[in-house]
């Protein structure tokens, strides 16, 4: 097994700079969503939610907070790392502050602590709302609903930081909770891989999510599209419809290993890859790895010589762009050339 990656150096030295509960929130200026320059102090009179998260963790996070800004009864701001984050002592981490209407810190969560509970954040957000509590018969107001939703997302974002810092520990907990994760040995593109997998992990997920081999694509995940096609012992199969644990001791080839399988020509494209390029056998490219893997195996199967035979042989590979004419032409070119028709054998 690989050793867990070391956690990035923490800069908890900034602890002294994290504003205390009840203290005045450090002021700063930034551009709001309408393009106006605003200072935090301009917003006094209403509570403010400040969320800090380095954008490289999740680029969609800032957009998420902008959406909440429209839903909450008070402004929400998402800040990347930078001078403001440094002033709040969270230069390299995720943190959430709620600033009350008087400009004081009424609640804070920094990632150095244990993950926050969504209920706790929801209570803070609800309590910070300037509006009176709704008294619907259900006792469940829209505002409370929004606050809970925001709270859950914030908790998730902060928890993820913890999970990322300790991937090995997080994974171990997961495995214990749901059953046995066992060592599965796969031979992929000539390399031995040793992966810690549950039995329910499909070969496709093992390749993509655990081994980082992302050539096989997840299209439908139900054996209807062919995007996940790989070779097992030289035969084309659908990696989404088999469990990785069942494919031990077999020779698995993905698109990443196809060129190498030509061998002596070292690094040269497989003839089918070259033919797909020559005949424009793709447009968006999502189905292409599956198409090429399927096609490279079709050449070795006893199909008839006609274009219709190719179409029938390839009917398990769907292309939404409709690149079929180029695909058929590519396959026929490889099949008709005696130099390439016999190649691609492993």
């Amino acid at each position: 097994m690989t050793t867990p990656p070391t956690a990035p150096p923490r800069r908890d030295a900034a602890e002294c700079c994290v504003p205390d509960i009840g203290s005045e929130a450090p002021d700063f200026e930034l551009t709001d969503r309408t393009g106006r320059r605003r200072r935090l102090s301009d917003l006094r009179g209403a509570p403010v939610l400040l969320a800090f998260q380095p954008s490289h963790w999740d680029p969609s996070w800032a957009e998420c907070v902008r959406v909440y800004d429209r839903m909450l009864d008070f402004p929400a701001m998402c800040l990347d790392t930078g001078p403001v984050a440094e002033r709040y002592g969270v230069a390299d981490g995720a943190a959430v502050f709620v600033i009350d209407a008087g400009g004081r810190v009424s609640w804070r969560h920094t990632a150095g602590d244990a993950p926050p509970s969504p209920n706790e954040i929801a209570d803070v957000l609800t309590a910070s709302s300037p509006m009176a509590l709704d008294s619907e018969s259900s006792g469940w107001s829209r505002r409370h609903f929004v606050a809970t939703m925001v709270a859950a997302t914030l908790a998730l974002a902060l928890t993820r930081r913890v999970a990322r810092a300790e991937p090995a520990v997080a994974h171990q907990r997961f495995a214990t909770a749901i059953g046995s994760g066992e060592t599965v040995k796969l031979r992929v593109n000539g390399r031995e891989l040793s992966l810690d997998l549950e039995p329910r992990v499909t070969l496709l997920d093992a390749l993509r999510e655990y081994a980082g081999i992302t050539g096989p694509k997840k299209g439908c995940d139900h054996g209807q599209c062919g995007a996940c096609t790989v070779h097992v012992n030289g035969r084309r199969i659908l990696s989404c419809l088999t469990f990785a644990v069942m494919q031990q001791g077999k020779e698995i080839t993905t698109i990443e290993g196809l060129a190498a399988s030509v061998g002596a020509s070292g690094g040269a494209l497989h003839p089918m890859q070259q033919a797909f390029i020559d005949h424009d056998g793709f447009q968006c490219g999502y189905c292409t790895a599956g198409q090429i893997m399927s096609a490279a195996a079709v050449v070795r199967e006893p199909w008839g010589p006609a274009d219709d035979d190719v179409r029938e042989a390839m009917s398990g590979n769907i292309c939404r762009c409709g690149a079929y004419p180029g695909i058929v032409a590519a396959i026929q070119t490889v099949r008709k050339n005696p130099a390439t028709a016999q190649r691609g054998q492993r």
Binding site: I178, G179, S180, E198, P199, R200, T202, D221, H222, G223, G226, T229, R235, R236, I237, L238, C240, L241, T242, F243, V245, M246, S294, A297, V298, E301, P302, R311, E312, A313, M314, S315, G316, N317
Partner: protein, 334 residues
């Protein structure tokens, strides 16, 4: 997908014992089971992998000659290998064609022959755990009865279930009079039995959840195809919404023994229209002794579809199945 534990037994004895436990499924090709496990239609707690057994006993995964002139197809033989096996292509073209018209190239490389016989229905309500289905959840009702039932069966149905059996090869195999060899847990030879494929599957009746006569722990070890010389003239015709890679709306497996223009023997089975692979002895009887003419074929088709029970969206299948059968008989006798 629900978690499960996985075992790959080293022997058939071990496999049948492991398979007899509650909440256990055998897995071979996995092309149906993995799909249904993702949908949580199938939620086994234990999975018993049969594939490694073929490494120890190659006959489980290959086609071999029987002393009587028939063929034995190992239960773990893959659909594509059987489709392209020379004795199958030459002596039982109906089976080779049915196999090649089923699924896709990738799936045929994975799917086992026995697994193909035992695959579950494609009824969309069976596959959707949010809907009622007597087959998936006995007693919950049949959503297809009043729902969208265009793909459903018109033969062998009951008030409880109108789901179609989806296999193509099974239709060819019942036409050929093939049987399955079955092995259960316990001491040999009492643990072994053989039955015609025609008696393997059950019509839904009042218990649609029971699809075969197999008992817990029983596995199919082989499919035996009897000698049938006139099957060299046999044919599988499949009609579907797409040109390829779709389940049958109607299909026909036919074999004819014609001498001097007169039909001496006939085999007829229908797919895509019935709750199990549907051999029609009524159609066969209607053909025997008749001249091989369009009128005789039409009469046989009428006999095959007598008693068909259409529902709102699948009434077209009655005539479609008749025409499919007439065309198959016309082509095979040409």
């Amino acid at each position: 997908m629900k978690p499960f534990d996985y075992a790959a037994p080293a022997s058939l004895d071990e496999a049948t014992r492991a398979g007899a436990r509650a909440a256990t499924r055998f897995i071979a090709g996995g092309t149906t089971l993995v799909d249904l496990m993702k949908l949580e239609v199938e939620t086994p707690e234990h999975l018993v992998d049969l594939n490694p057994l073929a490494d120890r006993d190659p006959s489980l995964g290959t086609v071999s000659e029987l002393p009587n002139g028939g063929l034995r197809i190992g239960a773990l033989a893959r659909m594509s290998d059987v489709a392209w096996a020379t004795p199958v292509k030459e002596r039982y073209p109906v089976l080779s064609q049915a196999l090649l018209l089923a699924a896709s190239g990738q799936i045929r490389n994975m799917a086992s022959m026995a697994g193909n016989l035992l695959q579950r229905t494609r009824c969309p309500y069976f596959r959707d755990t949010a809907t009622a289905c007597n087959k998936r959840d006995p007693g919950s009702g049949c959503s297809a009865m009043q729902g969208f039932n265009r793909s459903h069966a018109i033969l062998g149905t009951s008030e409880r279930c109108i789901a179609t059996h989806p296999s193509d090869p099974a239709v060819a195999l019942v036409a050929l009079g093939a049987s399955v060899r079955v092995r259960g847990p316990g001491a040999q030879p009492s643990a072994e039995r053989t039955m015609p494929i025609a008696s393997l599957h059950l019509v839904p009746g009042t218990h649609p959840e029971r699809e075969t006569v197999l008992e817990p722990g029983e596995v199919i070890t082989a499919i035996d195809v009897p000698p049938l010389p006139f099957a060299r003239r046999s044919l599988y015709l499949k009609v579907r919404d797409r040109a390829s890679y779709a389940f049958a709306l109607a299909s026909a497996a036919v074999a004819l023994d014609v001498a001097n223009g007169t039909i001496r023997a006939a085999r007829v089975a229908l797919g895509g229209v019935a709750t199990k692979p549907w051999r029609s002895t009524a159609a066969e009887q209607a053909l025997i002794g008749k001249r091989a003419t369009a009128a005789a074929f039409r009469a046989a088709a009428d006999a095959a579809l007598r008693g068909a029970v259409p529902h709102r969206d699948n009434a077209f299948k009655v005539e479609l199945a008749r025409r499919t059968l007439v065309r198959a008989l016309t082509e095979v006798s040409a």
